[in-house]
Structure formats: C-alpha cells, structure tokens
Subunit: 164 residues, 2 copies
Amino acid sequence: MNSSRQPHTTDTAAAAGPRGAAFLLAQIGAHAAERFAERVGHLGLTPADVGLLRMIAGRPGRSQRALAEDLGVVPSRVVTLIDGLEGLVERRRSAEDRRNYELHLTAEGGRTLGAVSRAAAAHEDALLAALDPDQRALLLGLLERVAAEQELTPGVHPGYRARG
Amino acid sequence: MNSSRQPHTTDTAAAAGPRGAAFLLAQIGAHAAERFAERVGHLGLTPADVGLLRMIAGRPGRSQRALAEDLGVVPSRVVTLIDGLEGLVERRRSAEDRRNYELHLTAEGGRTLGAVSRAAAAHEDALLAALDPDQRALLLGLLERVAAEQELTPGVHPGYRARG
DNA sequence: TATTGTTATACTCTATAACTATA
DNA sequence: TATAGTTATAGAGTATAACAATA
C-alpha cells in the first residue's frame, strides 16, 4: 500500500499462518487450557496441581526429585506445588533413604482427583460440542498420531508450568 | 490402595482425563506454540510480536487502543510491544484526532512478515508430519468446527499474552 | 471532563543459588 | 563428597494506577 515493490500483502505464503491447522491447534489448545483451569479452579486447584495429583496417583511413592524431572521443572518448584496441596498429598520419609520423601495421595486427595475427573469429562464434552461421536473419535485418532510423532510424553504437557 | 472404600483408582471417570481429546489439544497446542516461538525467535520476534504484526498488516491505521482490545490486553502492554518492534512498525499521528497514532508496517516490517509466513509454513509441515494431505485436511475441518462453535476469534489466541 | 498514549509502581511467578540433613 | 529437600534472593513479565497531551 505504498512503495515500489510489494514484498507481500496477505498472499499465498500466508496460507499456513493464522488459518492453518498449527495455528488452530495452538488457539484451541490455549482455550482448552483456560477453560479447564476455570473448572478445576472451583476445586481450589490449578492445572499444575492437577498434573501433580495425577502423577502421584499414577505412581505413588515417587520422590519430589523424580516428579520434578517428569514435569520438566526445577525441584524447588515441586516444593511450592506440594505445599499448596495441603491435605491432599502426604509426604512420608523413606525408610531406606531418609533424605527423600515418598509421595502419596490422602483419602481426600483421592476424592478430589475423582472430582477432577468428572470436571475433565464435562470439559471434554463442552469443548467438543460441535462434533458428533464419530467425529470426536476421528479427531482423537488424528491427535494421537500427531502427539506420538512429535514425541510428546503421555500425560504431561508444558502448560503444567504455569496457568491458574 | 489403602483404606476401606476406594474412592476411585483410575477408573472409568478418568477416561476424559489425560487421554481425552481435550487434553491432547492442550498438550499439542502448547507444544505447537513453543515450536513456533522458537522459529520466529530466530527472526528476533516473540509470538506476541507476530500477532501484532499480522493484526497491523490486516487492518493498517488502527490505534493502539483498538489493538489492545482485539488482543485482550491492557493498552500499556501495547506500548511495550510496539516499542519492541522498532523499524518494523511506524506510528503516525492521526490528522483527525492527534491524540492517537495510526499504526502501519514499514517496508522492512512487510519483509519480516513474509519471513514469518515462510516460518509458519515450515512449522505447519513439521507439526503435521505424521499426517498425509487428506488427513491434514480432515483435521483442519474438525478444528475449524470446534473453533467456530467455541466462538474463538479468527487470528487471535490467548497465547499472544505471553510466551517467548 | 473524557480519552489516547506513556511512565512508574507493584504484584505474580519462576528459576538460581545458598543452606540443612542425610548418605 | 554427593544428594534430597528447603529457603532466600533475584529476575522476567504483566497489570494497575498515576500522568501528560489533546479533544
């Protein structure tokens, strides 16, 4: 809209930009994370809390250091996260090596995780309201292929590092 | 794994949790955003910068306040963002109302946006490496339906608020 | 008095590094 | 000396609020 040559305008090269699948994935993904954060926020949890609870439930007895590695965060952050889960997670000193803790869910932690699962189911349903069951299955299959090829660790996503 | 009743374990209700489409969307979305950030980082830009450039290119002459609204951020943040786009974006005082600026891309800004588009195309291709052209089209269609039903504004996503 | 853009301040979040205890 | 966990400090990033110019 000005000088001699027009380096571009919104031409062909822009096709993969804000209208491509990659952009939509990022946009919908961020939206999904926000909505999920709202839902678990009603339970007094952040998405990071949920990730931690799930990880502990899946493999009880792990140390904080092991969790830090799996989450891709620094050990000191795990301290803060677990401090915020008072009453849901229990720290037991290991008998074998009393330097580290073994992490377990309390009974209330288990109930809370159940509530999280119900929230996740409602979230899933609301997010995919536009699709019928067949389409949902189709989408799931495509996403699984992409996730596997991109070598994304099942059950953990970078968003665990923040959000509220 | 302990007391009387087992409130849950990893039973049916957890089905929509870390294995559902909503979770995968959030996970892949965050991954996509990170990879895109890396690519445009080589151009000296953040994803937020890119969003701003695209928005200005799409509708030149807008004011900073208008952009702030569309991006969903506070006006003072737009000041910071535009300050970081020295040489790519031009502020022209409006003749009609000299309080506000009219924002335009410079020639270099246009060239940079062209480079961004090429980066986005490469990003798209790498992210969807697991899918053939038909599957990509299928995925795109499904995502478009979801985005429309969720009333996501085309071209802007919440991730513009941060990242690097 | 209301509005655009700017600057100054405060707040939140996270990582880095120093520290304690166990080994 | 090395490692698990904790605490203290500092850094990045963002919003809130006070400010100057124009209407």
